[in-house]
């Protein structure tokens, strides 16, 4: 039996690394991947709670989070494609207008 505090600590470490990546990196796609990492950290927390509490609710939430992550990735990458066509860069310091 893995202690749930260790699982949740791993989840917190992954989440904090994701936050750090979102703040530190400048490439929009890498920022996006850091968001995916944060979603995965939350998934790990859901599965850990399910494991510790003999419940399936967390598992169902994991599926819904997965679908939302897939939808987010699809739409976000399409937006980035358009931004790259319009501006020729994905540096988020230079993408500061909603319209150009």
């Amino acid at each position: 039996m893995i202690p749930i505090s260790h699982l949740l600590t791993l989840s917190a470490i992954l989440f904090a690394i994701g936050v750090g990546g979102v703040i530190l990196r400048r490439n929009a796609i890498i920022v996006f991947m850091c968001v995916e990492l944060m979603l995965n950290a939350v998934n790990l927390a859901f599965v850990s709670f399910s494991y510790a509490m003999n419940s399936m609710t967390g598992i169902m939430f994991v599926f819904f989070v997965l679908v939302v992550a897939a939808a987010e990735a699809v739409v976000g990458l399409a937006i980035m494609l358009q931004i790259f066509r319009g501006k020729g860069t994905l540096n988020i310091d230079e993408i500061n207008l909603m319209k150009w």
């Binding site: 490439n27 739409v75 399409a78």
Partner: protein, 185 residues
Amino acid sequence: MLIAFYVMGLMCVIGALALIVVPNPVYCALSLVGTLFTLAGIFILLNQEFVAAIQILIYAGAIMVLFLFVIMLLNLRTDEAFHIRWTLPKAVGAVVATGILAQLVSVFSSPAARLGPMGEYPVERLAKDGAVQIVGDLLFTRYVLPFEVISVLLMVAVMGAVVLAKRPAEGPAGEAPAAKAPEHK
């Protein structure tokens, strides 16, 4: 089992750190794939083989391939100047991330934190009925409304992506200037 968890957790954290440290976006995506695979391994340790399979199929298989496609389509080289210069915003960012980590860990490991009442799906029942059957039962009984709503969300996302990624046919930013260019010559 605990040792396997620590090994996988360490690999997971190393992959995540590589994601935010490595300059090349392709290597970043590959390190994230490694992190997702080790997370799937941790899910197997937690008796959730189905979630692990879904994790590998959808996350490591589909979503990350999409990311890699876009990275290679846009031909993003190491054009971002990512040298960790400790300017003030980056230092603030690191402090914020460390603060979030400290707060989460202090909550998770505090003696006041308790779990609620136990659920009705112990490991024995998972092994007897099978996790896939339990998930399917729940998905079409108790969670049928979220299931239907999320299918609509998925369809809207696909249509939105198609509309967004389409090149404008006659628009000013599409092929129109390129098509007009030979006429001037």
